[in-house]
């Protein structure tokens, strides 16, 4: 016998005939796709960028994949960096792609060490692509014009050079956001802001702007509980239906537990 006879009673068979497979839905699917592509790309970052992958954690994830991070592939970086579940916090993760747009840089002056958070930081969600990213309004933040020197060349002369440039800058973006996310998870919110600021300075029109600003919003909400509603509103206003919105909302909830 290689297959089973259809001996199911008719009412049961009829119910199965009417059954339609549920799907995850296009929005969820899009987010997941970004996460997957980002995660696979992020895992390759050490190989591409020359950095050494941390030994701890899931070393199996350290397979080498050249970053083919034009378009959708790149985007994902911010997300994995911020939301890969339960894995090695040292492993780079990525955020989702973002179309380039001018983004201000919020500078946070204080640098004192912070206490560790009791609970893990809510991870950021992948960004919804397409919206032009803009700055999240911040308290006591100095807005400066992002330097242009370190942005990638606008028009690489060849496909290869374009790919190389994209790969290395995307890898660096991912590394910075991984640093921010790691700091968030460890409750080092000011350190997270410094990483976010560095990303903003170096990649004002980067692929991971939305993820970056989500990380900034989360950090600010932890640092300034009184301003949570305002920070959340500003993020929502700026990024609309961002896939990161839920994480920002959770982190900025009035009763989210403070630091």
């Amino acid at each position: 016998m290689t297959e089973l006879d259809d001996d199911l009673a008719e009412p049961a068979r009829a119910m199965l005939r009417d059954y339609e497979q549920p799907t995850m839905g296009s929005a969820r699917r899009k987010v997941l796709q970004q996460r997957v592509m980002t995660a696979s790309a992020a895992a390759a970052i050490p190989a591409v960028g020359g950095a050494t992958a941390p030994a701890a954690g899931k070393t199996a994830m350290g397979f080498k994949l050249t970053l083919l991070l034009g378009g959708a592939g790149v985007c994902a970086l911010a997300y994995v960096l911020v939301s890969m579940p339960g894995d090695d916090p040292e492993r780079p993760r990525a955020a989702a792609p973002q179309e380039a747009a001018p983004v201000g840089v919020a500078r946070v002056a204080a640098v004192e060490p912070e206490p560790k958070s009791e609970t893990p930081e809510p991870a950021l969600e992948p960004p919804a692509a397409k919206r032009p990213p803009t700055r999240v309004d911040e308290p006591e933040a100095e807005v400066v014009s992002p330097p242009k020197a370190k942005t990638p060349p606008a028009e690489p002369t060849t496909v290869e050079s374009k790919k190389d440039e994209g790969s290395s800058s995307a890898a660096e973006e991912a590394r910075l956001l991984a640093r921010a996310q790691r700091a968030l998870r460890e409750g080092k919110h000011r350190e997270a802001l410094r990483a976010v600021d560095e990303h903003a300075r170096r990649f004002p029109k980067g692929k991971l702007v939305e993820a970056r600003e989500a990380a900034r919003a989360v950090a600010l909400c932890k640092l300034e509980p009184d301003r949570r509603p305002e920070i959340r509103r500003t993020f929502e206003k700026t990024f609309g239906n961002s896939a990161f919105l839920r994480r920002v909302t959770n982190a900025c909830a009035v009763d989210s537990g403070g630091m």
Binding site: M1, T2, E3, L4, D7, L8, A9, P11, A12, M15, L16, D18, Y19, E20, Q21, P22, T23, M24, G25, S26, R28, R29, V31, L32, Q33, R35, V36, M37, A39, S40, A43, A44, A60, M61, F63, K64, L65, T66, L68, G73, V80, S83, M84, P85, G86
Partner: protein
């Protein structure tokens, strides 16, 4: 040498994208049916596809991927269930989308889906797996045996038991 590596990486990325395109819903549904909440399934699905990416060399053809994917889903779901307390989970709890053209049709189809998914959740894993894969996902007995490592006869025995329960369930809800 470097060019060859890059080309290989590119091929793997394309293969991964192709697998995602075809099987993302299957993976996500499977994870939900293996006891994860929809949010947990999102995270777990990401892990599944990372495993897929790592083990692409084990896959014969994209068309034959589902038993292989199921086996990966099963392992990943098991890890996730150990990690987190199990709350109320499963597709019967998930806000379903894309299941109808208009509100009336959506309501009717959602109702049918919920009836069946509620039944699925009531089964133990030994019966749930063959029922879902055979009756809902359309895998063959041989594919299920491959996915689970069970003997073919075991698959059919468990499927028959699940069918009898399903008939009783349908009779009950139809009263």
């Amino acid at each position: 040498m470097l060019a060859a590596k890059e080309a290989r990486s590119h091929d793997r990325s394309q293969q991964l994208a192709q697998l995602f395109e075809r099987h993302a819903d299957f993976v996500w549904r499977t994870l939900c049916r293996l006891g994860l909440s929809d949010d947990q399934a999102d995270d777990a699905a990401q892990e599944v596809f990372l495993v897929v990416h790592r083990k692409l060399d084990d896959l014969r053809t994209v068309e034959e991927a589902r038993p292989w994917l199921f086996a990966i889903c099963r392992r990943v779901a098991s890890t996730h269930r150990r990690r987190r307390d199990r709350t109320k989970t499963g597709l019967s709890q998930v806000p379903l989308v894309g299941v109808g053209e208009n509100p009336e049709e959506q309501t009717a189809r959602r109702s049918a889906i919920r009836l069946i998914e509620t039944f699925v959740e009531s089964l133990d894993e030994e019966r749930r797996i063959p029922f879902v894969l055979y009756e809902l996902e359309g895998l063959t007995g041989r594919e299920i045996a491959e996915a689970t490592g069970w003997k073919l006869n075991t698959v059919f025995t468990r499927l028959k038991a699940a069918r009898r329960r399903f008939e009783s369930y349908v009779a009950e809800v139809s009263k």
